[in-house]
């Protein structure tokens, strides 16, 4: 058995005290060193004394019973959360809870004017959005009853309803295929004017009509999340 040429660390002494020297370590070597080294002996004795002191601490007197009230079961056990989640949840310690409530109240008081402004803006957005939606719905509904030539015109009317005074009004006056693009969700007048002359040698009217219907449907779908967003904001 080889002797250690250095003193034992506190962790080694502490582990020796608990008989918890891991297998990789040489417990016997440590003990052999301890028998011969006065400095380590003294440190070991101090450590043992201190631990003995801690072990002899009497348990504190219970201030009360911590039994739970019988009615806690029904409402409280349902969530069946894990301990980790419990630790994240705010504790029902009166002081902490009171402080949290106070902070929440203060925060809500501070954000009140901001909330009002937000509500107004969202209301406006909602009105615009609903107008926009209605126009697109109307155009979709009108399609089946119109001939293919008129359907293009209905597309223009929808765009002009949605955004009066926009450049698209001008674009809508260009021949058929142009307004089809203009009635899409992205009002890009330059693109519209660029498309219109190219589209002059148009495909067959039947193709145009089916294209238009598809685009209208797609547009309708594109508006749907926007409508939901508007409704949520409005709420």
């Amino acid at each position: 058995m080889s002797q250690l040429d250095r003193h034992l660390t506190t962790e080694q002494l502490s582990a020796l005290l608990d008989d918890q020297v891991s297998e990789g370590e040489q417990a016997d070597t440590y003990r052999a060193h301890l028998q011969t080294c006065e400095q380590c002996q003294s440190e070991f004795a101090e450590l043992r004394q201190m631990v003995r002191l801690l072990q002899t601490l009497p348990p504190p007197t219970l201030p009360r019973s911590f039994a739970l009230p019988a009615n806690i079961s029904a409402e409280d056990i349902e969530p069946a959360t894990t301990p980790e989640r419990e630790q994240e949840a705010p504790l029902p310690i009166p002081l902490a809870a009171g402080r949290a409530r106070l902070q929440a109240r203060r925060a809500s008081r501070q954000s009140r004017p901001l909330q009002g402004a937000l509500r107004m803006v969202s209301g406006l957005v909602a009105v615009v959005g609903i107008c926009f939606m209605l126009s697109s719905v109307l155009s979709t509904l009108s399609l089946p009853h119109l001939a293919f030539t008129n359907s293009a015109a209905s597309g223009t009317s929808s765009s002009s309803q949605a955004q009066p005074g926009n450049n698209q009004n001008g674009a809508a006056k260009t021949p058929q295929p142009g307004p089809i693009h203009a009635s899409g969700t992205r009002p890009v007048p330059t693109r519209v004017s660029g498309v219109a002359p190219n589209a002059k040698p148009a495909p067959t009217p039947l193709q145009l009509c089916s294209q238009l219907r598809q685009q209208n449907r797609l547009m309708h779908l594109r508006h749907f999340p926007f409508l939901i967003y508007v409704i949520v904001l409005f709420g």
Partner: protein, 208 residues
């Protein structure tokens, strides 16, 4: 208090997992001393410890379905208790103005003259040498408060509450090597603290 037999405890746990408060209260009856003792030693104030202990039992009841048998139920409970105590301690540290003079106890230095006589006459005259005076307990309690939370938890669970290394590892959600290291560092700090208060320790507990 009689110790519950293991199978009896398992039955109570199973019933508690089905929402039986009565069964859980029997478990509380069994473990409230060690739970309160742990929280008290970690926080150092009886009122706060009582609140945190109560919350810990409520949290344990809500979470008892997540307890899987086979491991130590005591360690599982003490994990919740020690975590709640740590959370509380950290919250107090973040908001030191709010109440916690009682926890930090930074008021004027106490007069230890009476204490010394108590210590010198106390344990030696007592047939139960283990009985420490209140004042001595307070010194130890202050020493514990000086420890970082992880070291404090390890020392409280192992040295004071007498859990095994495995149970401490389970309660602290770590491995044995980490427990060993936290324990040794916590002990070393405690020893330094007590050496600084050497004169207050009873003769048979004085560190050399």
């Amino acid at each position: 208090m009689d110790k519950l037999a293991r199978d009896e405890e398992e039955k109570l746990i199973a019933r508690s997992q089905h929402g039986d408060v009565e069964a859980f209260n029997q478990l509380i009856q069994q473990y409230q001393q060690i739970m309160y003792g742990t929280v008290f030693r970690m926080l150092g104030d009886s009122d706060t410890a009582a609140d945190v202990t109560q919350d810990a039992f409520i949290a344990a009841f809500k979470a008892i379905r997540s307890y899987r048998g086979g491991s130590s139920f005591r360690a599982w409970l003490l994990r919740i208790g020690s975590n709640q105590a740590c959370d509380h301690w950290r919250r107090v540290q973040r908001h030191p103005t709010s109440s916690l003079d009682m926890l930090t106890n930074e008021e004027e230095p106490r007069n230890f003259s009476a204490l010394e006589t108590l210590i010198l006459t106390g344990p030696e005259g007592n047939p139960e040498e283990a009985m420490l005076t209140m004042e001595l307990q307070e010194i130890i309690q202050r020493g514990l408060r000086e420890l970082p939370l992880e070291q404090r938890t390890a020392v409280v669970l192992y040295d004071i509450q007498g859990l095994s290394y495995e149970e401490v590892a389970q309660a602290m959600e770590t491995n044995l090597g980490t427990v060993r290291s936290r324990l040794s560092r916590g002990r070393a700090r405690m020893r330094t603290y007590l050496q600084q208060h050497q004169e207050l320790l009873p003769r048979n507990y004085r560190l050399t």
